[in-house]
Symmetry: C2
Subunit: 458 residues, 2 copies
């Protein structure tokens, strides 16, 4: 170990290699509810791509694992390193390198946070449109997990914004993929392969991201419904209308009570409406033109009434923003309430009622409470699972995720597999695809030094 | 050979295996200007995924190459098979399997043409938004080359529409990737890796594609400019305005004359304007609301005048459609004029003037005529190159593509590498990336039977 620390210090400087008690506990976990905190052998804090490359070369020679870490806000354990590994923290590589208003892109280092990028783009009238709900998250982490969030229904997820990358390969070579353009048919798309690969294929040291005009006007519409079927049935109609919602969420009645209670938000919904509501549809519209927004809100309200909404509330701007912010904190409410695990399965959006009715059956079988909300516009369902017994919880999650797959879905929509969903991925995913992914991993990292044991077993 | 033909006939039936003189000449080429026609050993026309899988198993056992072919409208030679190869023509797998209006997706077989899908989605008020300019092209071919086209500035290219695939691996296993959802963080994105892989990693047998509301109203605005710099300078301003153009093209004066002349279209532009015009900006706007479209057109006209347009013409619907259709036929005009090669390099859009000024210098050096038009909204420049001498042309293309790469671009924006841009790809691309792509190829196809020798040498 002395050797490794010395070699790392030669690369990044002694003050940027942490070992033993100098490693703060935060480096040992992410925000995942189930992960066991583990401190790495050492934390290295490189300042440049060249230093990251040098770390990889040392790792290859000395055979130690390398695990990339951004802000540590992940929900799958992907950035938690084993005790024999070196954690590469990108906290010092945190510059917005370029805001290019001619090509509408930002070039960022991996340690830049979403908040930092939002602050930098606001004065330009531009926006990086991925809002996974935690603005202290780093762009490097967002790229590694292919972060999603509430605006995916309009803008897509992280992979749709990543136009190019600089990345360090396991052997220390630095490659650049893509660029400041949306189209290329020049060989395999390495950019898209690296996005969502959770640090197992390469270390991303720079990302070129799409920016969009920031629409100045937005409105939040809230519609309570008697049944979830009506909520999900309304979604394709709203999409088909062409109104292009920025956000299209459902929140079940229990979760709505919890998230609004958490921030002391009173939406002013009468008791007689609240008592018969099973689920709420939340729609955020945005526009460059105030009067068009008003027309769209009016048309949407009429449409939702026709589609069976008990009532339709257009929230005042402040309450609307509060509701979205409360919804973004749903995970922390679940955590504070003692949830034992969370699920972020994705299914074809029209199958959500069938999926949730299956979930209710499984929950009853395993004596568990399962509550939820989700990105109803894109089929991404977030469930909080309350069942302290590990075995029952495992059976429950296996059933839930299996039902999602059977409906044509996928195990995780935006949190990633990491270490904590790996067991389910290995059990439920097609072995031919896992074998293929392992061969891709070997093509990038034959010695297996990059975040080994994440996504699938070594 | 008798053996192989017999084995193929066992799979697809004797009448669907073509050999020798029964192979029509069309199977020996695509639309690429430089490709040498070659007839394959045999053409197999499977009807099902199971038949495609069986062909791959036979190929693996008998060691013959397999080349996938859609409509043969490609521009890189990727679907042209060597004389020892079996061409798998997807002409019989041409069904739209599903139009799912709840999840807004179409599920298609690879032999479905763009025209067929457009005809099927029109009555539903939906649209598959990729229009690469040739509506007889097949979706399988579009997926293989990651086809782009004029609407990429608004909707992105093929890869942004492909949500899931069914594909046959080299060994005959059938995998399904993705699904009817936009977000997933469940392992490596095999869907995106297969899109644009030109048949070298797997044979795509089904694609799940995004559909969008089809905006009922559209308008075409044409603005002549004195300089190309003014055209490209206008682009970020138009994008920033939030008007969300469906199409944002530039056409140089020579090309405009040729493409409108080709279809006998008179745009009514006065001689004194035409004579001083270097390049035209063509903008198509679309909307669900007629009055919003009118407002947007008026605002755009004002903006373009302020940005230096000599004049601004709002074309009547018929003339607008004719101009776009004439622009789509630019390739055939170039072909008919005797162009010796075409280039579809992509560069950061703001660098187009610098790029084209470099191109003009190279053209002069090699005594060549180079004319062009392009997707100015996304930096994809189409050039027609007139220089019959192969060596001079090679030097010219090397210089042109090298200049594109030096500006942060890529060799081909939408046509693909295939056989015809391979030499440039091998000469100009980073060897570390080519090595990585070769290892990925080996991870999918260790025996090298899938379209060998395309993109890079075996």
């Amino acid at each position: 170990m002395g050797d490794i620390v010395g070699l790392l210090a030669d690369v990044v400087g002694t003050e940027h290699v942490l070992t033993g008690p100098s490693i703060a506990p935060d480096y040992g976990h992410d925000e995942c509810l189930t992960v066991t905190p583990v401190l790495p052998l050492a934390v290295a804090r490189p300042a440049t791509t060249a230093e990251v490359a040098a770390i990889c070369r040392v790792a290859q020679e000395e055979h130690f694992p390398v695990v990339a870490r951004g802000s540590g806000t992940g929900l799958s354990g992907a950035a938690v390193a084993s005790p024999d590994a070196v954690l590469v923290s990108f906290e010092r590589m945190n510059s917005v390198l370029e805001l290019d208003t001619d090509n509408h892109v930002a070039v960022v280092q991996p340690g830049v946070t979403l908040q930092q990028l939002d602050d930098a783009t606001t004065p330009l009238g531009l926006v990086y449109p991925v809002f996974p709900g935690e603005s202290s998250a780093s762009l490097g982490g967002n790229v590694a997990t292919n972060a999603g969030g509430m605006r995916a229904v309009k803008y897509g997820v992280t992979r749709h914004q990543v136009l190019g990358l600089e990345a360090v390969l396991a052997g220390g070579q630095v490659i650049r993929t893509g660029g400041k353009f949306v189209k290329s048919s020049t060989g395999y798309d390495l950019t898209q392969l690296l996005v969502g690969s959770e640090g197992t294929l390469a270390l991303v040291t720079e990302a070129t991201l799409r920016l969009y005009p920031r629409p100045p006007h937005a409105a939040t519409v809230l519609a309570p419904f008697d049944t979830l079927e009506e909520v999900t049935g309304a979604v394709p109609q709203v999409v088909h209308s062409g109104v292009g919602p920025r956000i299209l969420e459902y929140v079940d009645a229990i979760t709505m009570g919890a998230i609004t209670g958490n921030v002391g938000l009173d939406l002013g919904i009468p008791d007689e409406v609240r008592s018969r509501t099973t689920a709420y549809l939340v729609v955020v519209l945005e526009s460059g033109h105030e009067e068009r927004l008003e027309q769209d809100v009016a048309a949407l309200g009429e449409q939702l009434s026709e589609l069976g909404a008990i009532d339709v509330y257009v929230l005042p701007p402040h309450a609307g923003a509060q509701l979205i912010s409360a919804r973004e904190k749903a995970f922390f409410v679940a955590k504070a309430s003692g949830a034992d695990d969370i699920v972020d399965v994705v299914v074809p959006r029209a199958t959500i009622p069938r999926f949730l009715s299956a979930v209710a059956g499984f929950a009853e079988e395993q004596q568990a409470l399962v509550t939820g909300c989700g990105h109803v516009g894109d089929g991404n369902v977030h469930l909080s699972v309350f069942q302290p017994d590990a075995e029952k919880r495992h059976d429950l999650l296996t059933a839930i995720l299996g039902a999602g797959l059977a409906l044509g879905g996928a195990i995780t929509g935006e949190h990633g597999v990491g270490s904590e969903k790996k067991r389910y991925f290995m059990e439920l995913e097609d072995p031919a695809k896992i074998a293929l992914m392992r061969r891709i991993k070997a093509a990038f990292d034959p010695a297996g030094i990059l975040n080994p044991g994440k996504i699938f077993d070594r």
